[in-house]
């Protein structure tokens, strides 16, 4: 059973979003996503300063089996990519909601409200429908 922490918001494509105290957001992939991918061996995160549109591919996570794109759930400007993941991609498997965050982003004006993010209960329904 995949973990779905109650204090986060989610996307249908298995990203999670945490709102930080300074108004920026932290983004990663869910426990379900890391489990489906298996052992991660390569993670590419965006550089600070890059402006992204909602649904723009902005990170890549690769396991032994497959490569996947991670999409920006919200439009905005990247403030940081997790520097730890270049050398230790397996951190995403071990701690997907903590040390394994992928990027931080400053949402564009109104972008957070427009993003249509899912509540934990709504994301759980997505998982149930997928049989996960």
């Amino acid at each position: 059973m995949s973990k779905v922490p109650p204090d986060l918001r989610y996307t249908k494509s298995h990203e999670w979003i945490r709102t930080l105290t300074d108004g920026t957001v932290e983004i990663g992939i869910t426990d379900h996503a890391q489990h489906e991918l298996g052992d991660l061996v390569f993670v590419e995160v965006p550089e600070a300063g890059r402006t992204v549109k909602a649904d723009e591919p902005c990170a890549v996570v690769e396991s032994v089996k497959a490569a996947s794109d991670v999409y920006a759930p919200i439009a905005g400007e990247i403030t940081a990519g997790n520097p730890k993941l270049a050398a230790e991609p397996e951190v995403v498997n071990a701690d997907p909601y903590g040390e394994g965050w992928l990027m931080r982003l400053k949402p564009a004006a109104g972008a957070l409200a427009a993003a249509g993010l899912l509540s934990p209960a709504e994301y759980q329904q997505v998982l149930d429908a997928e049989g996960g």
């Binding site: 494509s13 996503a33 390569f42 996947s68 794109d69 999409y71």
Partner: protein
């Protein structure tokens, strides 16, 4: 997050199987928590816990794989050796001692690879062949068609399960499942030799680059044997680890690295084509002779990525020559902790190439496979790392 590339051999059904077939170990795989995938029309375990953990278990100790999806064919008849000398590109005339095995391609008339297989010489009227899961129906039809004029009888041994036990501790562990006589006979087996020992056919073969056995056994023995191996500390391993192990060992995967549209000389398999004696007129010979004489336009090489990233099948390889090449199998190597691949490239390709990954060109070194043998890296030291 959306999948960009899935390893196609795990996610696509080959052939026209509508309902995936199950091996005698299917329920045990489920009980052990395996993630199941379709492979060549069979419902098979891709991993139990961690694909990398299973990989290391085989390199460092021992692991067991369910390979019951592979086809076991018994060929019997007075002219079975002559038949196989016509059917196969390698020459079973080399098999002089009963039990000895030979790796060979089976070719069509154009020299394309229909399958790669292992054939065992059991006695003068009985040979046994092990073929790939995804090709077994096609193989069987082809073999039966050509066997008719030799009066060779072909039997598919669907009554057997097959376990591969691989790793430096594999033979010693597997021998503990056998009686005293069978155990000492099994441990005395030379490489690439198989014998019937009691109820089991035990062969010192594999697909990982490690020592070990492949054991064919009555289906009813498979579950107790697997549990017995687990109890001895042998790790359950899925097809995911099997793929990274075989690629490190520089072994081809049928359907990825060669198929009906490629010939052995451009697939790293020229060494398996026996052109001597010249009078042996095997299927595909006429098409291969000019290639052997003039040289193949393309070759299969090993690649080692020099930068961070993962090489994958179908990525473009830039070699400087017109046309370039393509990766046929690629992965992250858990033993070498970097990405490796097999690629089909122009014969003139030198020692360095570039691979296009998501629009970027990354440098890779060209090496001769295998990458790893018996747990050790075989990579030459990098001379001029950028």
């Amino acid at each position: 997050m959306r999948a960009r590339t899935a390893a196609c051999r795990f996610s696509h059904s080959l052939g026209d199987a509508i309902v995936a077939r199950q091996t005698p170990l299917f329920r045990l795989h489920q009980e052990l928590g395996a993630r199941m995938v379709d492979f060549g029309g069979w419902d098979m375990p891709v991993q139990y816990s961690s694909q990398i953990g299973e990989h290391h278990a085989v390199r460092r100790a021992a692991g067991v794989f369910d390979v019951s999806h592979m086809g076991v064919l018994d060929l019997r008849g007075q002219r079975v050796r002559a038949f196989l000398q016509q059917l196969l590109a390698n020459d079973v005339g080399k098999l002089k001692v009963p039990g000895k095995a030979l790796y060979s391609c089976m070719l069509n008339e154009q020299g394309g690879v229909l399958d790669d297989l292992i054939v065992y010489y059991l006695d003068e009227y009985w040979f046994r062949m092990v073929v790939n899961a995804g090709t077994r129906a096609k193989d069987l039809a082809w073999i039966r068609e050509h066997a008719r004029s030799f009066a060779v009888e072909v039997t598919e041994r669907t009554d057997l399960a097959m376990l591969a036990i691989q790793g430096p501790e594999a033979r010693a562990k597997a021998a503990q499942l056998m009686g005293p006589a069978e155990s000492s006979a099994a441990l005395a087996l030379g490489t690439f030799v198989g014998y019937g020992l009691g109820r089991w056919f035990v062969a010192r073969t594999g697909y990982t680059g490690e020592d070990g056995f492949e054991i064919m056994m009555p289906a009813v023995d498979a579950v107790p044997a697997w549990r017995g191996l687990n109890a001895l500390g042998v790790a359950s391993c899925g097809l995911g680890a099997r793929d990274t192990l075989r690629l490190e060992a520089g072994m081809n995967l049928y359907g990825n690295d060669m198929d009906e549209r490629t010939h052995p000389f451009e697939s790293g398999l020229g060494w398996t084509v026996a052109l001597a004696p010249p009078e042996r007129n095997f299927l595909g010979r006429a098409a291969l002779e000019p290639i052997a004489r003039e040289g193949s336009a393309r070759k299969l090489v090993g690649l080692v990525l020099e930068e961070r990233g993962v090489l994958r099948a179908h990525q473009k390889v830039l070699t400087g020559a017109a046309g370039g090449g393509e990766i046929t199998s690629g992965t992250f190597s858990p033993t070498l902790e970097r990405s490796i691949a097999l690629a089909r490239v122009p014969a003139s390709t030198g020692s360095r190439v570039q691979v296009e990954i998501r629009g970027k060109l990354l440098g890779a070194r060209v090496v001769r496979p295998p990458f790893v043998r018996a747990g050790k890296s075989l990579l030459p030291p990098a001379k001029d790392t950028p």
